[in-house]
Subunit: 885 residues, 2 copies
Amino acid sequence: MSNKYVYLFEEGTGNMREILGGKGANLAEMTSLGMPVPPGFTVSTDACTRYYDDGERIDKEIEAEIFEYLSKLEKITGKKLGDGTAPLLVSVRSGARVSMPGMMDTILNLGINDTVAGAMIQLTGAPRFVYDSYRRFIQMYSDVVTGLPKSNFESYIAMVKDRRGVTNDSELTADDMKELVSLFKDFYSGNTRNTFPDDPKEQLIESVKAVFRSWNNPRAIAYRRMNDIPSYWGTAVTVQSMVFGNMGDDSGTGVAFTRDPATGEKRLYGEFLMNAQGEDVVAGIRTPQTIDQLKTISPEVYKEFAATAAKLELHYKDMQDMEFTIERGKFYMLQTRNGKRTAPAALKVAVDLVGEGMCTKQEALLKIEPKQLDSLIHPGFDPVALKKSIPAATGLAASPGAACGAVYFNPDDAKRAAKNGPVVLVRSETSPEDIEGMAAAEGILTATGGRTSHAAVVARGMGICCVVGCSALRINKTERSMTVGNQKVMQGEFISLDGSTGNVYIGSIPTVEAVVGGYFATIMEWADEIRALRVRTNADTPRDAATALKFGAEGIGLTRTEHMFFDADRIPVMREMIISENTEQRQRALEKLLSMQRSDFEGIFRVMQGRPVTIRLLDPPLHEFLPTADDDIADLADEMGVSFKRLKSTVRSLHEANPMMGYRGCRLSVTYPEIAMMQARAIIEAAISVKRETNCDIIPEIMIPLVCEARELKYVADTVREVADIVIKDSKTQLKYLVGTMIEVPRAALTADEIAKEAEFFSFGTNDLSQLTYAFSRDDSGKFLPYYFEKNLFENDPFEHLDQKGVGKLMDIACKLARMTRSDIHLGICGESGGDPVSIEFCHRIGLSYVSCSPYRVPIARLAAAQSQIKYGTFKAHLYDRNLL
Amino acid sequence: MSNKYVYLFEEGTGNMREILGGKGANLAEMTSLGMPVPPGFTVSTDACTRYYDDGERIDKEIEAEIFEYLSKLEKITGKKLGDGTAPLLVSVRSGARVSMPGMMDTILNLGINDTVAGAMIQLTGAPRFVYDSYRRFIQMYSDVVTGLPKSNFESYIAMVKDRRGVTNDSELTADDMKELVSLFKDFYSGNTRNTFPDDPKEQLIESVKAVFRSWNNPRAIAYRRMNDIPSYWGTAVTVQSMVFGNMGDDSGTGVAFTRDPATGEKRLYGEFLMNAQGEDVVAGIRTPQTIDQLKTISPEVYKEFAATAAKLELHYKDMQDMEFTIERGKFYMLQTRNGKRTAPAALKVAVDLVGEGMCTKQEALLKIEPKQLDSLIHPGFDPVALKKSIPAATGLAASPGAACGAVYFNPDDAKRAAKNGPVVLVRSETSPEDIEGMAAAEGILTATGGRTSHAAVVARGMGICCVVGCSALRINKTERSMTVGNQKVMQGEFISLDGSTGNVYIGSIPTVEAVVGGYFATIMEWADEIRALRVRTNADTPRDAATALKFGAEGIGLTRTEHMFFDADRIPVMREMIISENTEQRQRALEKLLSMQRSDFEGIFRVMQGRPVTIRLLDPPLHEFLPTADDDIADLADEMGVSFKRLKSTVRSLHEANPMMGYRGCRLSVTYPEIAMMQARAIIEAAISVKRETNCDIIPEIMIPLVCEARELKYVADTVREVADIVIKDSKTQLKYLVGTMIEVPRAALTADEIAKEAEFFSFGTNDLSQLTYAFSRDDSGKFLPYYFEKNLFENDPFEHLDQKGVGKLMDIACKLARMTRSDIHLGICGESGGDPVSIEFCHRIGLSYVSCSPYRVPIARLAAAQSQIKYGTFKAHLYDRNLL
């Protein structure tokens, strides 16, 4: 960490986002490109880290440096903070390495007090503007620095409007605004027992602190968790001289993209409001004009903006999301960043940029967030049903896709209800606090706001269907209902949203599979050309396998055989096997299961046409196949023709204190080898029969679960191989097969050199491996994990993203040890994190051969695999000093 | 592995026990010392390993090498295997690196067939001897090679004796023996469908194979598991030309020690039988004469034996256990090895050897098996009660100590019953098959056999009280009872054994603590001088702490605070806390617990007088404090004055699928910091008050359990430190305290570098760490572990001995990572393996600072720690390449 904590825009570059944050770095870059950026400086992320290290206080040394740079800024602008003649006003904004829109705090108009207000009236002759700015500052400062709720201030405004008999803020006079300033200050001192700070330097330091603090506010923590942003990064703070979009009708402010963020079409796309400050546009309170209308209103400004936009896109080689302000006719750039976009737009932009010669395929692929593909491959509305449906209302199409779910009116309810079924979150407008409820919803509907409002931006980022600005919508919070026209929908009733048209329907509309072609196909093709990591799927049925194939799966990484046993026609036979009192009875039941399993496997082999198929032997504890309640046991006993007592005693004998760590996996095969033998026979017989039938070269991979010791694996593997070899010999055909194991027990990873002697392949079962490495029972961790997130003790749910530090270290150790024994060992992953882009990157880096994920995640995995290759190059296995492992 | 698999005795030395086994190496050494050893050769342990690697067959090349050495032996002896004039007879014996008495198989008199028998009669003129040898060979060969039960042969002998109207074997004539040979051969061919092999070379190869096979017989596997002998060692096979102790009254055989194995007294101690083979002495069928009587019977031989014994003891610097044979007046040494001895003998011999200048303190300490100390420090009979008790019978005092337990007559019953209480195993005589039942028993009583019989040797080795040769004893197996004189004892009734006097009492006699002084104190003093590893104790009460101090504990490594909460007067308050509906109610309950905990800790600090005391914060899941059955819940609800519904709902909400990996340990402190705060306050207040009272410098060590992530630890540690600092400040005294953590979750070990930032000490909780590393729930593993032992998939119960390969690797990684962050971090272990000598050795090697074990294991740990220091020297921490961890 350097000793420099503050940088003028002139001192920075676009590469310094780690120190300056995205916003600071881009402002520095635009400054160096000679664009009209109001001058300012950035307090670095290092200062934020110091702030936390020092126990949430700003060191004197850093404070001095901030004031030193303030002086420099004053010199550049020729204005002075708190000055009675040429006062400087600044904005104070957060800026992390990556954009976290709306998650942290911003304060505008800082530096204002009674003296400054007087001077500003002198300078502008616009007392209403000055007092409007003043009251906005008090409002923001009170909210951000002291946490006084915004709504209290809003109720004062409502009170004054009421008294004056007007409905819009714009109808309030300078005197009204002045009165509000005074009311706000009284409210502030009444609630904080301090007078509102008049000293602009105090305002500045307190605001910087508040922005640092906002790095750890609950919504920022939630956002980081959802977007894999580490908490140690911290935020920078950008202090910039104010320009005012609300200085009259020749002023304004706007937000625009260089391409349409919904479709990717190449055209300026955005909105602006004249005589307004930035917050007015994004907050979605007034409905803005489209950027095209600026051409008419101020052709000069439009030209300058369009030129700047084009220059920035070329410079950053990506679609830009820009913020500008017009102060009395003069154009200023306040921000630029790579724009968030919908999945279809992301694909089109990427392909277009390559077509336009602006970037390479590799660069283009890196611009697509793999998770976004999710929205493309999920079902849309059935066109026939859609045709027959009449929209109840239409809003702005803010994020494409089709959503159908039960209506909820607050994010907490939505989050809770989402556990039981699809949910649509309906709000007047969303705010950053809603983030978790939004993430849980299938769709989001708001009554106000434009396409760049919070709801729209966030929903697009998440690939969630979203309709905004649906003005026909009325929400009754008390009754928990909404009305559209004369139709009333109660909480829990279904509506359907079309994010591509903005249509809102009462009731549910059936959906159909997405068609994936065009840009999608091009991107997937490029990804496949580039990636080294293979992508398989977890599939238990021919149907799953077929879906995955359609999405480009190259094989099956996990077929769970037990799911087949839970079928209504299978479970009685399985139970018969479990309550067998001797090997003979068990053999009889297994005989029946054999033919069922064989046909299961035939179905899967047939679909996969010779692609690799990994089949895992029976894994769950046997008690999962039996009921636990006495009544159910009695019913089943009747059904099976055994005594209640006997069945109850079997249930009791199978009961376990900690089933996750109990009598399951290969432990079943050690005690009842006949189960493994039956399954091996079914697999090999099915492979032989489908090979004969289709002439495909089928090489089944038989996977032994829950291994913790090499000898245990050898015992089961020998059993499997013995049966397999006999079946092959008897069939008088040739068949290659592999026997391998899941690495899901820490000890298996730690002794992977020995395990690899017996296993021809490894597949990391990161679900169980994570449970055991953390000592987290997934069934129980719900009781305490929320506290951990709340207290910022965990950034991620370890079951969602592979924990690279702990679980990943075990995997890395296992890979290294395994290669010492068997340098060409085939290594894969079949836990849920196999479909998570961050985890896939890790898998590439430790040299796995493939990832296996659910069918709908296959395209995501293909792209993530390509991105890993682009970022990290080809994995090279080294030999390691064994003593250190 | 070399290509040489066979060694003449002349080719070997005493250092080659890895290749030749203990027996082979010692025979080689005695040969090189010029002692009268019958010539022979040894087939190496490598050959055994090859035998198993090759799929349980002897490679042609190795077979050829065996025959080549057989030729050499024939040349040396001037005899020939199977020869009609000068026949060579050999013994074939097993011999592992360390002695495993009676666990594997032996065949004597090999080479005999009808031709050879004829030649032997010619040579010896002793047809009875020849046929006796012949029938013994058939008997042993049939048992060892083909597994025909010995008892069948014994019943033929009984039949012939019956017919002849005699009672002793010795009364059978040459013709009787000849008849037995013929009966035995018929029985053999009838049962194996093969004629008994006449070809001595076939006999030899089959016998070698059988000895190799016996390495993996169940009792050998069980013995290895109990004695930490790895299965990959394999056994060597020694083939030695026979000498005969049963060639008449000038022949004999004996077993003797250079010192009394029960007391350690320096004198020849042993037994012999004239006109007998070795098996007759050890089998305990005939009652032998003491070695002193040999002086009278054969003064020349006695002199030669005594001289040899003295020479061997000096040579090996240890008490020897020797086997000799006299063949027609000529003395031969058949075996020597370091003698097994009782714990008191082990101490006396060690101290005496140093006193006699025969070895150093270090060498002496290595001669004591730490586990043996166990028998010394456990209670003996209360002398007053003993005085009033009248022995029902007296046998030979074979292994000292006092035992009192329920009588069982077969080893399986004993093993089962031992789970519920102390057991005494009563047998006519024991055999190697009984090993597990013997290990489970508190005491062993046999009706026949001498002090060198199987029961006596094994019991001494295990430190189990044993009385043998109790001729007054009659066992009725059918009725499951025993009678001593006119007193009858049924299975399950209690008897008491005094292993130092041989007295047997009906009923139970109260016991008292052992007094540990004399040799014990000297050995402990030496151990303490030498060892680097500190020894602490796990103690939850002042009483435990006081016991441990008496045994030399240097501190407390683990105080489990929850045990205190289970007390009858505490649990209601604990329950009150658990069902609290808000922080206030909880605080009220915690207030009450505070004063209870404070006085608990005061008691412990007072006893420990300033020695370190580690106290672990609350660990178990809260549901452990509540009942689960509806009836119990209803009762408790009444008692607590709450509704059944409410209490039931609390119980239900606390229920967990896998409590071992659930809501416990520091997770409780994260959600309810007030619990940790209460405990921290109680610890610090207690420390301050006892410090004031006693003037001892008390430094409490507060240990946070179940940590898996550094930030979680920091959160709880900060909470603890905050309270502690306030309490100290308020008290206006000085108090140092440490905050550390248990390393019991794999992820904590894997991220130990980060954890160490927040922890001033680590204590490895190997119980939970092993469960998680293996995915073994200790509560459930009983269902499948027996199969694992039976199938030789696990050698050890991972909860008994620390698994060095997996769990140990995690510990090693954790130590290395922790030292990178905090080079002087204090590292300890408090799991059960902290009292296990093999595990202690591992702890020394990875550089732990201390081990903590139960009070009664403290002396064992002190000795084991010293032995580790002697074997491995001082641990040196290195810095490791971080990338590889």
